[in-house]
Assembly symmetry: C2
Homo-oligomer: 795 residues x 2
């Protein structure tokens, strides 16, 4: 109720927009730092190789230097990840998606993770490995957004305040007094993290609209117009900052990270089958990468073998660098640098080719492809076929395409920060360019442009690996500036998705989720396989329930013996149960969460009740200032419970040990303890349990022992759950179709959904796990005995 008054505050709105702008600005800065660092280091390394070769030290020395540098930075990045912040490994896009889907991803948005991710990415991209900065930028964007909104939590802890007043942080000029509510809830954090992730991708590709569409199509599970505006603003600012830093002057032009302006948008009908072939071939290649990755993930060392993971990273780096040098030396051809090129030092690499006295000199085409920044490799491949002689030999492209596929598959999954968007595009464009050159040989009279096939190949590869559609087209168009090629790009996306769908069922994200295992990801739409299922098939039975007023002993018992986070609250009426009528079993009246009860215990908010009549009639009009103040204060603490206790490791609060933090076994519980002792001493016969005066005994037993009271205790300490429980929980009937259940669960962002019968009695409970499991089973059509049991008879 208190929270509801806050949305009108202009200060909050203003603070939100300022935070959005800041996110965009910082993301743009970080993207610039990473990409220019990568370029500088690459140029430096190539220059050192040439110095070594020109001074006659030979290729071995050059190789040793290059290799040492590469392995050193990989060791550093890898150690950061393995020994300090495991959450910073890999690209991170999948985990951003998982978080936005409603999962608790431990430590993922910590400041330390953010720091390790930035530093690690700086190292990895300068190592020469086929690893991009695009995925990490999505994580970094989300991390920056999270850090900005959570800054409050790194400052004074609310726990230290005995009177419950939150201390205002030094940032309070940004946050009006009560805005702390607004930024501590999950809803707002998701909004900012969506915007940050969009800004990260936008800055990585120089694609403001593409970033928003990526967040819409892939990353965000909960989407609204407000999120879209926020993302759009963040992506534009990030792109603007990047463009501005690149150009060294204030510029509104897109940074054009992959721009080329040399292809002509001239196609003929005969190109159509060629486009289809290229799209289908690279689409198949993309799903092959996924399949290989899924297979390799099984034989890679698991994440708990830390030294093995480190050794793997070193070995992979070594093998990759050896491959590059050996292949470049043996298969690369020496060609004359095209005269119109300006960036001689940046891309064209002489390597072991002979020196020339004057002119632009020779370059080794394969070495140039390998050792350049991936972005430049892609750019050069997109430009293929414009001039008179192609810049790369056919064998070079063939070797590059095949070797890069292997290199990429090896590197994809080692324990360093780094993404796969750009390396994937390198494979795609290399393969597409090769096909384009073949087509040009086959149809010498046609107007085949190999560069266009490279463009189509890169797009098709991205689309088939990630199963995206519109966002990848827009990203490519914005990144390359090639709006005239939009129709072939759409064709590529459609064909490659279709091909990939029939070859390998899972996208790269899904494989990652499978590997992680602990994430329950709710997809956007229920699968067709759910059509014959109902809520009854999905739900878990044997739900632990609580009465509206429950003894502290019971709460302690249920919290320390189960790991569930939500418990239905039942109302038992006092009338004599008639024969099997609907009133005997307790009506479902509300839902209480684990952390709410934990907080009530922590704050010692218990009351004393007479067990014979545990239902204290709560005065309907108890709107007294004092009572409401107390409830509001507790409500505030409940909302910020996770934030205060385990800000980045929410899962910890469902450990049984959590209770021990509150020292509940002290003298405070004496009343109950004393009575229990008395009861134990006094020879109360066991059979009293079956005394018929205890009206709900049978029922309570049916609902699990959670609701059982020891009838001999007359005065007990109890919690009154009614002011705090969610008194209007959404329920579904047993017969409700599973698809509908899925949609309700998904759209409302629920974590617990009670299944009731026609008389509103609880018959089951549906959680994220149940939903995800039902989706998985119905999707794949297989039902492995183990998991199936788990689903239907969850303990």
């Amino acid at each position: 109720q208190l929270q509801r008054h806050l949305y009108g505050f202009t200060g909050v709105t203003l603070a939100k927009w300022l935070i959005t702008l800041t996110i965009g600005f910082l993301v743009g800065m970080v993207a610039y730092v990473i990409s220019s660092h990568q370029e500088l280091v690459t140029i430096y390394k190539k220059r050192e190789i040439m110095v070594a070769l020109n001074n006659g030290y030979g290729l071995w020395i050059a190789f040793a230097g290059y290799c040492t540098f590469g392995i050193s930075v990989v060791i550093f990045a890898s150690s950061l990840v393995i020994f300090w912040t495991p959450a910073a490994a890999g690209g991170g896009v999948t985990l951003v998606m998982a978080y936005l889907n409603g999962n608790d991803v431990p430590d993922f948005f910590r400041a330390s993770t953010l720091f390790a991710k930035i530093v690690g990415t700086l190292c990895t991209v300068s190592s020469g490995l086929p690893i991009g900065q695009e995925g990490p930028m999505v994580h970094i964007g989300g991390g920056i957004a999270s850090s900005l909104t959570w800054m409050q939590s790194y400052l004074p802890r609310l726990k230290s305040e005995p009177d419950g007043k939150p201390i205002l942080s030094p940032l309070r000029w940004l946050k009006p007094k009560s805005a702390v509510f607004a930024f501590h809830n999950d809803y707002d954090r998701r909004e900012f993290i969506s915007a940050g992730a969009a800004a990260g991708l936008a800055a990585a590709f120089g694609s403001p609209i593409g970033g928003v569409l990526f967040a819409l199509e892939e990353a965000s599970s909960f989407w609204s117009k407000k999120v879209m505006w926020r993302s759009l603003l963040a992506t534009s600012i990030a792109t603007l900052v990047l463009s501005w830093l690149h150009e060294k002057e204030f510029s509104f032009a897109l940074p054009g990270t992959m721009s080329f302006h040399n292809l002509q948008p001239k196609f003929v009908l005969g190109d159509l089958p060629l486009f289809v072939i290229t799209s289908a071939a690279t689409g198949a290649l993309g799903s092959m990468v996924n399949a290989v990755h899924a297979w390799l993930a099984k034989i890679r060392p698991s994440s708990d073998k830390k030294l093995a993971r480190l050794a793997e990273a070193i070995l992979v780096t070594f093998v990759i660098i050896v491959m590059m040098f050996v292949l470049a030396h043996n298969f690369g051809t020496c060609r004359l640098v095209p005269e119109e090129e300006e960036d001689i030092e940046e891309f064209w690499f002489q390597f072991t080719c002979p020196n020339m006295e004057e002119g632009p000199g020779y370059y080794n085409d394969l070495a140039s492809l390998y050792l350049a920044v991936p972005r430049q490799t892609i750019q050069k491949l997109f430009k293929l076929g414009e001039g008179t002689a192609p810049a790369f030999a056919k064998t070079t492209l063939a070797v590059h395409c095949a070797s890069w596929f292997i290199i990429f598959s090896l590197a994809y999954g080692i324990a360093t920060p780094g993404g796969i968007f750009l390396p994937c595009m390198v494979v795609g464009s290399s393969c597409g360019a090769l096909l384009g050159i073949f087509f040009k040989i086959l149809f010498p009279n046609g107007d085949v442009q190999p560069g266009l096939h490279a463009l189509i190949g890169a797009t098709a590869m991205l689309a088939s690996m990630f199963r995206t559609s519109i966002s990848v087209v827009v990203i490519i168009v914005e990144g390359t500036g090639g709006v005239d090629f939009i129709l072939p790009l759409i064709l590529a996306v459609v064909i490659s998705n279709w091909v990939a769908h029939h070859l390998h069922h899972a996208s790269a994200y899904e494989i990652d989720l499978d590997n992680i295992g602990s994430i329950t990801f709710l997809h956007n739409e229920p699968s067709h396989g759910m059509i014959p299922m109902t809520a009854e098939h999905i739900m878990a039975k044997g739900v632990k329930c609580l009465p509206e007023v429950v003894s502290v002993a019971e709460v302690k018992k249920i919290l320390s013996t189960t790991k569930h986070n939500g418990f239905p609250v039942l109302r038992f009426t006092n009338e004599t149960p008639s024969s099997g009528g609907p009133t005997t079993q307790g009506t479902f009246v509300g839902l209480i969460l684990r952390h709410q009860m934990l907080l009530l215990l922590e704050k010692r908010q218990w009351i004393e009740v007479d067990y014979q009549d545990p239902i204290i009639p709560r005065p309907e009009n108890d709107e007294s200032e004092e009572f409401m103040q107390r409830v509001w204060k507790l409500d505030y603490f409940m909302r910020t419970y996770h934030h205060v206790h385990h800000p980045h490791r929410r899962y910890l609060s469902s450990r049984p040990e959590e209770l021990e933090m509150f020292d509940l076994d002290k003298e405070e519980l004496d009343l109950e303890a004393g009575q229990q002792k008395d009861d134990a001493n006094g020879a109360v016969p066991e059979q009293n349990d079956a005394i018929p005066e205890q009206p709900n005994e049978e029922t309570v037993q049916q609902n699990g022992d959670a609701c059982a009271f020891n009838p001999q205790i007359r005065r007990i300490k109890a919690l009154d759950l009614r002011p705090f429980m969610n008194s209007a929980p959404v329920t579904v009937r047993e017969e409700c179709s599973a698809q509908r259940v899925f949609i309700i669960f998904r759209t409302l962002g629920l974590r617990h959904l009670c299944v009731v019968d026609a008389y509103n009695r609880v018959v089951g409970m549906i959680t994220r796990k149940d939903i995800a499991e039902a989706h998985r089973l119905s999707h794949h059509g297989v039902q492995s005995g183990n998991q199936g049991d788990n689903m239907y008879h969850r303990p």
Copy 2:
């Protein structure tokens, strides 16, 4: 159940994709026909004016000819709309949105409406009025999609088949035997109509991705990946066909309906405030257009005054043409046609300017702007400032901007088919160009490009009139090919939306919806004003309920006295009611729809029951072939009820007169009728109604008289609703927050949502009207007495 087996059919999937391709193809063709027709007629008219002027007939004669032609075609188009197909009036985008939102829009997707829309648009765009073809293309796209999917319904009527087997249409090669299910449900139709609408917009602007995003952002209320793929395919094919027809050769290039390639993407920091000014000014202009339109809509003749509507259209056309001629003659300046231009005849118009012996000749700049196709006007404005001398004088632009604002406001709303997208862009670009020229004068040293300001103005205008964001940016980028201008365009969209939001609350669509009145549009997200509301505030009370087995007489009575479409079904247990306990009032067990009961009556599916024990225990295992066959057949007829009886006017089925179609008063009902007569003759005392043996009497009276049985009838004809009712309806509790109710209602696409208490007894019902009303009230914060009453105490 039967339907569930069908999704696997590859034939259905194939048919669906073929239909999608056909939609794209046809939409592209229609778009080409309309746009080239417009260009040809415009050129012809201008040539005729020049012939008249050159032959010395004078301006009066030329004006008379031009005016006569314009008024003739407007009379034709207007008569079509007013006297034949009122649903074809205006742009139609709003009604497509309303349909996709779940409304029944009568006659909107009829074949006759489609025909009138195409013919009418051809007429209107050739009349010279400031009316575009873009809005109509959205409607036409939807209409083509609808006609292709509904083709079945124009063929044999299912009603004529006594054995219930649908006759297969000649199109059956497209549709496997049972596919008729798949295409008759609303879900599939919405999918195709979404795709058709997207294709229409894509073809109109030459913007495949923009079309999809438009459908996503604006038109479609229910969106899924499948719809996106379908739309993407349809838009690409439509664009491809258009591009192919325009180029006269197979081409993958975008048709580039507004393309220009002359602006340079060079901006400096100093441009930023100028961009902001232009965006804000045109944004304000856009919301001014909306305000003027909302005001004019009140004083225009209402749609039932047909002749007044026709007279209005004629008068508006006349006034507009007079304005154009007078202004062009008095304010236009004569300039030399730029030599580099190729399309001399298409755009540059000599009008009353002096002839030249040789060279490209003079043109009247204002007449050129007025009399050209709007698309070309926009193109020329976007190109402004590239050469040495601007093509239009400052006064010309000022006059054009101001006059076009008036002309546009007048024409926007007359009874002809035609849209406002392009005219709105003309105003915006004209205003932007004017500002750009002023800026150039103010900052002669700066590098101000008036054409860029025209581009920003057009975008800002569109954004502020329609309150769109990403889709308009993408449409402009694809239409103009100006991917380098994306950041200024985003800026324009953000600023103009912000300005417009603060000046006038409603977008053009919302004003249209207000004018139409009968549409209940559910927005995407609940408003903030709903936060303090609960389901109890929204729901309508006094719901008419039915028991599970209900007498035919009761059904007849309830159907002929109410207009409701959904009725809760209650279960009454037979036990003696205890004091106010939960069992006395009947538990909510299902929901039955009006048309389901109508069909049961039509097919005479009644049973005879003893009233003393009306609950027939339905055997749990009655899965006998015969019974299931009967239920499935009836189920099929229920699904196709609207389709068979009132395919385009669904609302008719809720008339009380609908019952008369079934001749229920014949001898078939004799049993009941006879008994009723007997009862009337036999002097049964009235006080028998209160006999305590009738267990549910009191309850039934509480639930409205609908459930009251006449206790004296021992054998009655009754309907058993249990096999047909929705036995797992979604319910919410009274205390449920209104926002949550909104989301459930909106996402599941419900039409009836029952509100229940903790014991699952019906306390209220929420329908689209209630939700929309609650949204409206909470949004505007005002609560007019009349509508407020309506909402809370709906009869």
